[in-house]
Amino acid sequence: MLGKNRARERVDEWLSAYIDGALSPRERARLEARLAEDPDLRARLESLQRTVALVRGLPAVPAPRNFLLTPAMVRPPAPTVRQPPSAARRLAPALTLATAVSGLLCVVLLVGNLLTAGGGGPGAAAPVPMAAYETGPSPQVQETQEALAKKAPSSPEATVTPEPARLDSAATVSETAVPEMEAWSEVAPSPLLEGGPIPPEMGGMGGGAGPGPSLREPGEPEEPEAEASPTPTPEPQPSERVAAAGEERVTAAPPTVEVTPTSPPVEMPGGERAQRVTSWLPVGGLALLTMTLAVLSIRAWRAR
């Protein structure tokens, strides 16, 4: 059956091509020879020819109306309608990226800040490392205050002693001495005035400081320091004396004692506060920026 059908199809193809005059001369001659002797084949050709003739004879259907184009019909719809979304479409990924970058920066800064702050210990310990870094002696000074009241540890001495020693022994003005000198002048203006000879002699602070304490010997809390000044030569004594002087400072002369610790610590908290502000400010700013960008990018994505 299948073979027969295929054969029929092939014959139909020949007949169809014959109708269209699409057979090669050789094929055509062969077909015409077969048609001449096969009435069935002739009948098939005829029915096919009639069918084609019927289709070709179908009347042309005129257009029921004009299909003229109007400018509105051919106006490119894409740009006018899709322009705003396309802008948002372009912006949305960029905004998202910006959000991610700013968010990442914010987190990095935050973690960095936390690490720097948390390195020395929680909360109150935070200033310590920075203070130690900038003004080393401060913790030691604090310790000296406490320690000196009980005993005289060696390390506090080392830090405390050089200052008076320099002040007295070295006439040359040392910069380390300066803070103490300032404190000195603030705390004890009257003794300086009493010890009038100082200003005329040097005029400079360091110069004045040198003789100052010695002159003030009879006086007051400064006495011990003044005593300490000559001491550098005898070794064992200065420690004791300084210790004693420390004790005296704590008890008898609050101003001087306060001077040593306060002057640096006052700077420390201030500097640390400034540091905190400067390190946390960008974090907050970045957080704000991230949030803004996030809102913008969400809007951009929604607009798409």
Binding site: T51, V55, P59, P62
Partner: protein
């Protein structure tokens, strides 16, 4: 078939390519009958043919830049044929027009059918035959239908059809043969519905068996 009025096709196409819509509309007026006729014969539905025609003209205008010389009408016919082909493939999901629905087509859809025939009887016969034929064409598979209409309605040769549909000439040949044979079989099977004058065979000769060899009138 219409070959277009005396119009300078090349000049109009060039002007249209520069964005001259009036020039393009002159081409529309010149070719809309042929474009619509092709769409109607392929789709078999006036409304669908109208849509396809309008869409084809819009698409043609928008893609004028892709027209590289040659026959503008052929290019236009290819555009509408492809649009109809797409429409037929879309319709594939819908149930095809069944053989049983023959003769039930709305005559008002084809008001032209009664035109051009002097006697009412002839006109009625022709109208019936045309309706019948169009219904039969619509039952053909889309592949065969498009080729049949391009060949026997539009009068395109094999090469033109191959270019329009984008298939080899050999495929055109076989599809056309199958379409014609199938159409013939349909007409023979329903020959009772055909007006006697248009029947493919003489009833007397093939009584009870396969179509007997016709002597050819």
């Amino acid at each position: 078939m219409i070959t277009g009025r005396n119009l300078d096709e090349g000049r109009l196409v060039a002007a249209a390519q520069r964005g001259d819509l009036d020039a393009f509309n002159e081409l529309v007026l010149a070719y809309q009958d042929r474009v619509y006729n092709l769409a109607y014969r392929i789709l078999g539905d006036p409304a669908a043919a109208e849509d396809a025609t309008q869409e084809a003209f819009i698409a043609a205008y928008r893609h004028l830049s892709t027209f590289r010389g040659g026959s503008f009408l052929s290019w236009l016919m290819r555009t509408v044929a492809n649009r109809c082909y797409d429409e037929l493939r879309r319709q594939k999901r819908r149930p095809a027009v069944s053989w049983e629905s023959f003769g039930e087509m709305d005559e008002d859809a084809n008001p032209f059918l009664v035109n051009g025939h002097p006697t009412p009887e002839e006109a009625a016969q022709q109208a019936e035959l045309t309706r019948f034929l169009q219904s039969a064409i619509v039952t053909l598979p889309p592949d065969q239908r498009v080729v049949l209409v391009l060949s026997d309605v539009e009068g395109m040769n094999y090469q033109e059809i191959a270019d329009t549909v984008g298939i080899p000439v050999g495929t055109v040949k076989s599809r056309l043969a199958r379409a014609r044979a199938r159409l013939r079989d349909l007409l023979q099977a329903q020959r009772e519905l055909l007006p006697r004058a248009y029947r493919l065979e003489d009833e007397d000769r093939d009584a009870g068996k396969e179509p007997s060899p016709g002597t050819g009138r």
